[in-house]
């Protein structure tokens, strides 16, 4: 049974891989912004390391945001979403696995890539661990909330930006906890509270987001 859901996720990964673009470009995108930022800043290591946590987080968020639109839109446009809905698959689970596919493509690489960005931005080394851990907790939330947004804006031509507008306010608190955690660590404080909050949010989104997205899809297909 799980195999059938997994097939959806696998198929998305395969299609992304085919287009090649899908896989390495969010990373290149991130890297480019990280390069551009110091260029625009024209500043030394000090200012950079101060803004580093915020920047890493904004980057992870952006990389996710610009790719969200397609989570469901492509499936809707070529008619395969109608196909899923008509099988006996549970729609919330389909959403979950679509989000998993998105996370594997965009979220996970961002997590693995974070240390590189951190080095480029002179983040204190002590904070690397917490940076990665917090990203690991937060990126699935991004993908899940993104799935909700994507489901809501399915049949809008330029849903991309509306999507961001819908999703960003919901992700702002996550950003606060996450960047806060890194900041605390780099100031040698404990980041436990922040990480706990992140975990809590993750659990909450894991349970609620698939339901919300499934409801949105149902309405949209009507």
């Amino acid at each position: 049974m799980i195999g059938r859901y997994w097939a959806i996720c696998q198929r998305d990964l395969l299609a992304a891989w085919r287009r090649k673009a899908g896989l390495y470009q969010p990373l290149v995108f991130q890297l480019l912004i990280v390069t551009l930022f110091p260029l625009g800043l024209g500043a030394g290591a000090q200012t950079l390391s101060k803004v580093a946590p915020a920047l890493v987080w904004i980057l992870a968020l952006l990389g996710t945001l610009i790719t969200l639109e397609h989570i469901f839109k492509d499936d809707f446009e070529d008619g395969s979403l109608a196909m899923y809905v008509r099988t006996d698959l549970s729609l919330p689970l389909v959403v979950l696995f679509k989000a998993l596919g998105h996370w594997l493509m965009v979220g996970l690489p961002a997590v693995l890539f974070a240390p590189v960005v951190a080095v480029l931005l002179h983040l204190p080394e002590s904070a690397y661990g917490v940076l990665m851990l917090s990203l690991l907790l937060a990126t699935p939330i991004f993908s899940l909330m993104g799935a909700v947004g994507s489901a809501l804006t399915l049949n809008l031509r330029s849903g991309g930006l509306l999507l961001s507008v819908l999703v960003m306010p919901l992700l702002a608190p996550i950003l606060i906890f996450g960047a806060g955690a890194v900041l605390e660590t780099s100031l040698d404080n404990s980041a436990k509270g922040h990480l706990l909050l992140l975990s809590g949010s993750l659990v909450l989104t894991l349970t609620l987001a698939p339901l919300a997205a499934a409801a949105a899809i149902k309405v949209n297909l009507e």
Binding site: M1, G3, R4, A7, I8, R11, L14, A15, R18, R19, E77, D78, G79, S80, A82, M83, Y84, V85, R86, T87, D88, L89, L221, E222
Partner: protein
């Protein structure tokens, strides 16, 4: 009885009824053709039947019950949107459709099916690089492997060449012969009207 019953159903777009109430009962072994001029609501009716949109009024029942997951599993819908994934090859497309709908998969059967629909030699070509008729054939190939008794087909003959139409006639009549049922829309296909057990002509609501 395994039959789908439409009882005075009406579909709407932008809040307006599209056609006069329609009643229809299609049982196993029957073929129904929905006809009507452009914009009369054939596609909309099929989409409602496929459960992708609600009927505006009237009842629609399958096995004496309201449409439910039973119906979704035992019917297969191919609309104007063909549900082929552009970035996958023909073989992968078929494979995926089967996996998702929970069927056992046998590679050889898939290859045979693609050959039967005239896509031999295109197994490893991306769906986005097929010709219009080939795309149609790819989506029709799903019918052959999904073994759903009820087929809902929106203008299935469009883009097919002469041989393709002949082949589809044959597939349809075999399916019906084996106790399947088909509801399809078509323009100007005399032959399908000769085969059909039910003819529905959608008439403007007012």
């Amino acid at each position: 009885m395994q039959q789908i019953e439409l009882n005075n159903v009406v579909c709407q777009r932008r809040g307006e009824a599209l056609f006069k109430p329609v009643s229809l009962t299609v049982g196993r072994g029957e073929l129904a053709v929905i006809a009507g001029p452009n914009g009369s609501g054939k596609t909309t009716l099929l989409e409602c039947l496929a459960g992708l949109a609600p009927f505006a009024s009237g009842q629609c029942r399958y096995k004496q019950q309201n449409l439910a997951s039973d119906w979704a599993r035992e019917s297969h819908y191919i609309g104007h949107k063909l549900a082929n994934k552009a970035a996958l090859t023909c073989l992968e497309n078929l494979h995926f459709a089967l996996t998702v709908s929970g069927h056992r998969i046998d590679e050889n059967q898939l290859l045979d099916t693609l050959e039967a629909v005239g896509l031999a030699g295109y197994e490893y070509q991306l769906a986005s690089e097929l010709s219009a008729g080939q795309k149609k054939r790819l989506s029709l190939s799903r019918l052959l492997v999904m073994d759903a008794p009820f087929w809902l087909l929106d203008e299935p003959f469009v883009n097919l060449d002469h041989a393709g139409c002949e082949w589809l006639y044959q597939v349809l009549s075999e399916h019906i012969g084996q106790g399947g049922a088909v509801i399809l829309t078509a323009h100007d296909q005399k032959k399908i009207h000769e085969m059909a057990h039910h003819h529905i002509e959608l008439e403007p609501a007012s």
